[in-house]
């Protein structure tokens, strides 16, 4: 497995005793996880184990959920995510997110790509066009859409929409890409396209991907974290290099889950 070249002790994301509540209901309990820079980290675990909730903490999308409350600490590139001076708009530029269902905005492919760029201060049309072409090539969509950039993004197939969403996030030059089951709504061919895309992004971005598909976690990720639902509360059971987590897990629960005995 290709490990990239992470600097030693360089973590993109580090959580310490992270707890998340929706109102009074605890959703995540004491998650301590370190995510290495430039690698692909999978998060696996059964439904309700807090995987998606964990992702939404990392770009502070939890701010949009009225009753969500976080305690514990999260460091992104060494900076405290919940420090009072954190600009969430800048943060979310640096920490991109891809959702389970592709969410193209209801206008043209071109505007889908350009709107975030413009919002983040890139006003020059030539620069915009260059950036759009680069990232659309990165996600392998350029040849398919270059002649119809003015068409509605809603007319693309599901797989193309998801690649468009990835391109839209990449255009902002994020450092980290959070992906919440990005292939679960896609057919096997589109899934393969997204997986090879993730492989090609490895090294340039830190990728955290939530997946239900154990084979997928094994295929694409360097590290894997296993979450489990303990009496309705998501907890991290174990995290390790993917091979070790699947071949020789430390925790019997992990072993049972990856062998399909539980979950």
């Amino acid at each position: 497995m290709n490990k990239g070249k992470p600097k030693l002790n360089q973590y993109s994301i580090e959580t310490q005793k992270l707890n998340l509540f929706y109102g009074k209901t605890p959703v995540l309990k004491e998650v301590n996880l370190q995510i290495k820079r430039g690698l692909v980290t999978s998060i696996i675990g059964p439904s309700g184990s807090g995987k998606t909730s964990f992702l939404t903490v990392l770009n502070r999308l939890t701010d949009l959920i009225p009753a969500a409350r976080v305690d514990g600490s999260v460091f992104v590139n060494g900076e405290n995510l919940f420090a009072p001076d954190v600009d969430t708009i800048q943060l979310r530029r640096r920490v991109g997110m891809i959702f389970q269902k592709p969410v193209p905005f209801p206008f043209s492919i071109q505007k889908n790509m350009v709107l975030p760029l413009r919002e983040h201060g890139m006003k020059d049309r030539r620069q915009q066009a260059e950036r759009v072409e680069t990232v659309l090539r990165d996600v392998g969509l350029w040849e398919e859409v270059k002649d119809r950039l003015s068409h509605s993004a809603g007319l693309l197939s599901g797989g193309q929409q998801q690649r468009l969403c990835i391109a839209r996030a990449l255009a902002l030059k994020p450092e980290i890409l959070l992906m919440d089951e990005p292939c679960s709504a896609l057919d096997p061919i589109s899934t393969a396209a997204i997986e090879s895309l993730i492989q090609s992004l490895k090294g340039r971005y830190t990728i955290v991907i939530v997946t239900h598909n154990l084979a997928q976690a094994r295929r694409i990720s360097d590290e894997t974290a296993f979450f489990w639902n303990v009496e309705g509360i998501g907890q991290l059971v174990e995290s390790a290099p993917t091979e070790i987590l699947f071949e020789a897990p430390a925790d019997p629960l992990t072993k049972a889950y990856v062998h399909g005995i539980r979950g």
Partner: protein, 270 residues
Amino acid sequence: MLCTGVAVGVGLFFFWLIGDIFLKGAPGITWEFLWDEPENAGRKGGIAPVLVSTAAILLVTLGTAVPIGFGTAVFLAEFSQGKTTLGRMVRRALDVLASVPSIIFGLFGNAVFSHWMGLGFSILSGGLTLACMVLPILIRTIEAGLRAVPLSTRLSAAALGLSRVAVLRDLIFPAAVPSLAAGLLLGLGRALSETAALIFTSGYVSRMPESLLDSGRSLSVHIYDLAMNVPGGDTHAYASAWVLIVLLFSINGLTALCLDHWGKTRMRGL
């Protein structure tokens, strides 16, 4: 069986009413009727000043109701989240306002706009009064449109680091345009057919208005006056009713058309 009978009855009643107006009104509809000033208290001549006044009243109504309605709807849907006391209060007030009879709006407009603000019996008073009347329906329709923008869209916009302003401007407002149009046309229909509220505010002077501060007679007031106060005004009352009904039908048709069209483009867009 009984239900079918009732349904058929309702249908027949509708056709009878419309048919009666169309049959008795149509002969009076000529270019002269639309272009001339009324003569002899409306028994002769046309309805040109009445049409102008009606249009002016509607313009005042829309000009005030749309910005206020849009602002309130954005506040309710985007900034109060249905939880704040203010938001709850505004919503409750709107629901009550929506069911207040128009005569009350008329008296309110007369007291506030005509007397207290000194606008007298004028197109401006009438338009402002109608604006108060159509606001509840306008606000609630726009609010529903704004709320219809799916959470997934909002979340993914936020995840791209789009500012609140950008999300509103580029994603939420465009999505609310169809409901804005629907609310507008519904309100317009209500305003167009309003009589009671206008008698006390814009008055019933049938001359061509020269400014918004002149009194002006709306179509519905004209019909009321011809039918009730002017013996021998029946033919022109029917013809005016014909014009009013055609206007209302056009507005309804336009609403349906717009919604249909926007509904389809939105579907394609998503």
